[in-house]
């Protein structure tokens, strides 16, 4: 089996706020205050193989963006390790480290906040390859012109500033900037979420063309299941910091195993499906400051039973390449039916 291009092994990312002075003093008097810790990503395993397009979906606050940043190497993990071509990121030094940094590039949702408004397109795209010695200073203009042409912009725009472009054009500048350092992996964090449907289709087509042309690998983070279904080879569903299900898009949409995935797919508004009745799942995503015990989804889950409240479900393979983390996997169909109505028979 080939080694993954990038792999997260038991990766956790916690954000905590230290106690301030007043709280420390209060603790001296026995207030018993503790640091507040958000478990944004909680022991996640995810491997992305060369040439693959992996979709990472989930609702806001589920930790998908944090995981993307940790895997792109721009944010350190607080537990576990990220491996680049089999080697832990923390062990990379010098040239290896620099090469890895260049090979993993990110494209963000809002290009206006990631493009320096006081720089021209030429410098925005050309600075990194020049600094890293990929192109010489006098070749920079040609290099950048070739890139912007490839992403569908007119090379005569090189001396313009970001505010002179529309949203879709700015996103193309962001893509050209990521491509300028010849990356292997693109981490796209909600890269098409802010675009109108027609522009979104243009950008998605561009992503797919670039994949063919440059042999790119994608980690595609999105809340839009429709987009992810269309372009990804594998879809990973996250809920409150954990991976709950992973499968190929066809398998996931035809045969979702986890009750959360089932709800997400059912609630997806669609033009073709004129479903007039909504059957929303109850409740909201709990605060990651105080995640529920056991399975994180159990307070909202229509099929939850006693075990879900105490024991964390592990990812198990249901079918080839289809894993889900749900205690229902351990039950037979008959048991599942009895569980829904009464106490387990055994």
């Amino acid at each position: 089996m080939t080694t993954p291009l990038v792999e997260a092994v038991d990766v956790s990312r916690r954000f905590s706020r230290k106690l301030d002075y007043a709280e420390k003093i209060a603790n001296l008097f026995g207030a018993g205050l503790e640091e507040k810790t958000v478990h944004a990503v909680d022991e996640v395993n995810l491997a992305v193989y060369p040439g693959e397009v992996v979709g990472l979906v989930g609702e806001s606050g589920c930790g998908k963006s944090t995981l993307g940043r940790v895997m792109a190497g721009i944010m350190p993990a607080s537990g576990g390790e990220v491996r680049w071509k089999g080697r832990p990121l923390t062990s990379l030094q010098g040239d290896d480290k620099r090469a890895m940094r260049l090979s993993a590039q990110m494209i963000f949702q809002d290009p206006m906040s990631t493009l320096n408004p006081r720089k021209r397109v030429l410098d925005l795209i050309g600075e990194a390859p020049k600094v890293h010695g990929i192109v010489k200073g006098r070749e920079m203009r040609d290099h950048v012109a070739a890139l912007v042409t490839r992403v569908g912009l007119d090379p005569s725009y090189l001396d313009r500033y970001p505010h002179q472009f529309s949203g879709g054009q700015r996103q193309r500048i962001g893509i050209a900037r990521a491509l300028a350092v010849k990356p292997k992996l693109l981490v796209c964090d909600e890269s098409v979420a802010a675009l109108d449907v027609s522009i979104q289709a243009q950008i998605l087509n561009l992503f797919m063309d670039l994949r063919q042309e440059f042999g790119l690998t994608y980690l595609f983070i999105s809340h839009d299941l429709g987009v992810v279904k269309h372009i990804c080879d594998r879809v990973v569903v996250m809920y409150l910091g954990r991976v709950v299900e992973s499968a190929t898009p066809d398998e996931l949409f035809d045969n979702p195993k986890h009750p959360y995935t089932q709800a997400l797919i059912r609630e997806l508004p669609s033009v073709t499906d004129r479903r007039r009745v909504f059957t929303p799942i109850k409740g909201e995503i709990p605060s990651p400051l105080h995640p529920p015990a056991g399975c994180h989804f159990h307070p909202r889950c229509p099929k939850a039973f006693d075990r879900c409240r105490v024991e964390r479900p592990v990812l198990k393979e249901n079918a080839a390449g289809h894993v889900s983390a749900c205690h229902l996997n351990d039950l037979t169909a008959h048991q599942a039916a009895t569980n829904a109505t009464a106490e387990p028979a055994i």
Binding site: L204, H223, H230, I231, E267, P269, F278, P280, I285
Partner: protein
Amino acid sequence: MTPVLEVKNLSTHFMTRRGILKAVDDVSFTVGQREIVGLVGESGSGKSITGFSILGLVDPPGRVVSGQILFNGEDLLTKSPTAMRAIRGKRIAMIFQDPMMTLNPVLSVATQMIETVQAHDRVSRTEARARARDALGLVGIPSPEERLDSYPHQFSGGMRQRVAIAIALLHRPDLIIADEPTTALDVTIQSQILFEIKRLAAEFGMALIWISHDLGVVAALADRIMVMYAGRIVEAGQVDGVLTEPRHPYTSGLLSAVPAAVPRGEPLRPIPGFAPSPLSRPSGCAFRDRCARATDVCATEPMLEIAAGREFRCFHPHLWSAA
């Protein structure tokens, strides 16, 4: 039955330094009683400005330059500012995309809701509070009595939007204009809000204008749909008809640009080109530069055609065998 709202030849222009920006250009439509109308279009198509124009919320340099807005038969454009204040919030309410912008962050929800009640009805504070509590309960906020004294930041995004909807419902308006109210929400939360809105609109017999860029949401919610492009309504009709057999090439272009329209892995079919700048729209049909069906005749203004409950502005509409 008289329609709740009848908009006739509405034009809202912005007098900018670089010229006249025709945000809304000769738009006419009606909203019947208890009807849910979806208004869709891409950003910059003028759908939000249409909503603002109805409520008289267009700020300079923008101005409603012509047309009539008949609300229960009365022209809102001839009303004095005082008269409009009495209508706004009482008989027509609006829900915005970002509830954090509608809610005052330094006032508790109770204060804001009581203020809304007392702005239009002479009732005691106790009674106003009771009405506020009932409204919160209606939109599905658990333990409304306790939540009344919370501040907006103590609510999640979905709950905040419910509070905004509750405020809109306080006076049981005849018409609610909702401007992208679920765009910022997650799929499961959006589904909950759509469910509540649909139930409440039916329960109180309210008419609803639902402004959105998401055809899927409108398909699930609305009775009728209006598609806007470059300041004009290019197609309108029953949701089923417009979405299954679109007549205008722009509508069909929008429908085939969504990922679900093509088999997985195949290239998507975006509409070529970009929407024209609202300052320099081409003469005639504004869509003709991007349209595969365009011919020389499209350089002149297409008139509104009305056929079998469907309205569209196009010289070369799609023909469907049933039509």
